[in-house]
């Protein structure tokens, strides 16, 4: 496969929702987003700007109203089999233990039960949850549940990893731990990542590229910034480097207006 083919390409995607009473709401308009194989891209924007909508289109949960989605050059039909998705909210099956949750994807794909559990244990160890396999989700902390969800997604070795504000519900320390862990796992086996967040610092410290979305409705990208910070990174330390602060200032200037717009719109409602 040539390097010129992006792992994921949203081409001129527009998403318009129609409510049962006939109202229309355009979440995303004419958006183009390309992600290269092995690239870590963050999408930032004010709340309600359609970030999650883009991700749902990329994974095939939503069909775009207009535009195309290509996965490694092939048009996407139905669910994106090459993608893994890490949800913002709880997505683990509460009736399965951590181990069984991690093994679920393998079992769905026909891997034998015992073999799936064995690999699940390896992955639990990799995300730092060795010995917690027998716990049910409610017996784990929020951060542990996120690790289980991460293992559940990564065990299938997806070529594209889509993450929808996965760490937004965690406290700052746990969050930085998880971010470092994510970078470590990602650099060991580089896949394409689309990371949605409203936290600019998180976006810069993790990514190769940051895409800024305009305030919704009818949101679209208004800026793209290459993040030339060296890897490997420590997300807590890199925030203190001059280049980080420079980039942060630059991107924040682009974002600020949109955040204010979004804030003004929320005041109207």
């Amino acid at each position: 496969m040539s390097a010129a083919v992006p792992a994921l390409a949203l081409e001129n995607v527009t998403v318009t929702f129609v409510s049962p009473d006939g109202g229309r709401y355009t979440a995303v308009r004419d958006t183009t987003l390309r992600v290269e194989p092995g690239e870590f891209v963050s999408v930032v924007g004010p709340t309600g700007c359609g970030k999650s909508t883009l991700l749902n289109v990329a994974v095939g949960l939503l069909a775009p109203s207009a535009g195309r989605v290509n996965v490694f050059g092939a048009p996407l039909a139905g669910l994106n089999a090459k993608a893994g998705y890490l949800f913002q909210t709880e997505a683990l099956m509460p009736w399965r233990t951590a181990r069984a949750n991690v093994a679920a994807g393998l079992e769905f794909r026909g891997v034998e039960h015992a073999a799936a559990l064995k690999r699940a244990d390896e992955w639990l160890q990799r995300v730092g949850l060795r010995g917690f396999g027998g716990r049910y989700p409610h017996q784990l902390s929020g951060g542990m549940r996120k690790r289980v969800a991460l293992a559940q997604t990564l065990i299938l070795d997806p070529q594209i990893i889509l993450m929808d504000e996965p760490f937004s519900a965690l406290d700052i320390q746990t969050r930085q731990l998880m971010e470092n862990q994510l970078l470590e796992l990602w650099s060991a086996n580089r896949k394409s990542v689309v990371f949605i967040t409203h936290d600019l610092e998180e976006a810069i410290s993790l990514s190769d590229r940051v895409v800024v979305l305009a305030a919704g409705p009818a949101s679209r990208p208004i800026g793209e910034f290459a993040i030339d910070l060296e890897r490997p990174r420590d997300v807590a330390e890199i925030r203190l480097t001059p280049r980080f602060i420079e980039l942060h200032t630059l991107i924040w200037h682009a974002m600020k207006e949109e955040v204010l717009k979004s804030y003004a719109q929320q005041q109207l409602h």
């Binding site: 009736w95 679920a104 769905f108 794909r109 989700p137 017996q139 559940q152 997604t153």
Partner: protein, 272 residues
């Protein structure tokens, strides 16, 4: 959770209350102990309310001679069959309707009508259809259990988090796997939540069915005793049924603890 010692004190009071109630029953119905307050004839109180000593004697007789076991077994069998069949039917139809919106919209008024109908009036019809043996009692129990399970399953499937379903699909679950690994477990948690109700109603169906016409079972014993104005035997039958219902309820609690281990309980903490 109350501490261990306060639980013991509570239990003690519960037993004392039972003893006090039995003592009151004894005193108020004994022909010789109390002067006639309400009834002119001292034997009348005993005629209407039975005498606890004689009631317990009767229970003892039943168990000592072994005559009760055959009847209890029949009632238990009817209860279990009604419970299992009603749950299976409720589960199957609940899953089907929850996942098929068109069929659900079509059948909605019929289900509401069937559910509002006082189902005990079906007992005579079931007796005609299935005879006076256990079949008609099981049928009555099934109609009672079915709706409880059905509505819970329906609710359970509807309440599955969208994210959990989407996540399972992205992880590669086919429609069958989605049913087996997501919808059924979610529905089962609601079914288990209603387990006490459905077992209780299966029991009600069995006993009411027996009472309305049968040749075996504890309900039949009560019916017989009533026919001969043997009030002590009626109370003895009620006592046996109550004890039996408590036993069933306790077994359900045990099953629930085992099966719903994945659900958080209030105030649960765990040492790591």
């Amino acid at each position: 959770m109350p501490s261990n010692s306060s639980t013991k004190i509570l239990r003690l009071w519960q037993v004392l209350l039972l003893v006090a109630l039995l003592a009151f029953w004894y005193a108020a119905t004994s022909p010789t102990l109390l002067p006639p307050i309400y009834f002119d004839d001292p034997n009348k109180a005993a005629f209407f309310f039975g005498e606890p000593v004689k009631v317990f004697e009767r229970v003892w007789e039943w168990f000592a001679s072994g005559t009760i076991y055959a009847h209890l077994w029949v009632t238990l069998l009817e209860t279990l069959l009604a419970f299992v069949l009603g749950t299976a039917l409720g589960l199957a139809i609940g899953l089907w309707l929850a996942l098929a919106p068109t069929a659900s919209a079509l059948l909605d008024p019929y289900i509401k009508a069937l559910n509002s109908m006082p189902r005990v009036i079906l007992a005579p019809i079931f007796a005609v259809w299935f005879g006076l043996d256990i079949g008609s009692k099981v049928a009555l129990g099934v109609t009672l259990v079915f709706f409880i399970v059905f509505f819970n399953v329906y609710q359970g499937v509807r309440e599955v988090s969208f994210t959990v379903v989407a996540n399972a699909r992205i992880l590669g679950a086919s429609n069958r796997q989605l049913l087996r690994h997501v919808y059924v477990p979610s529905a089962m948690s609601w079914v288990f939540a209603s387990l006490h109700n459905s077992v209780g109603l299966a029991f009600v169906g069995a006993v009411v069915g027996e009472y309305l016409g049968s040749s075996r079972g504890v309900g039949y014993l009560i019916l017989q005793a009533e026919g001969t104005f043997d009030i002590n035997a009626v109370f003895a039958g009620i006592l046996v049924l109550t004890a039996f219902a408590l036993l069933l309820d306790w077994l359900v609690t045990l099953a629930e603890r085992r099966l719903l281990v994945w659900q958080p309980r209030g105030g649960e903490t765990e040492k790591i």
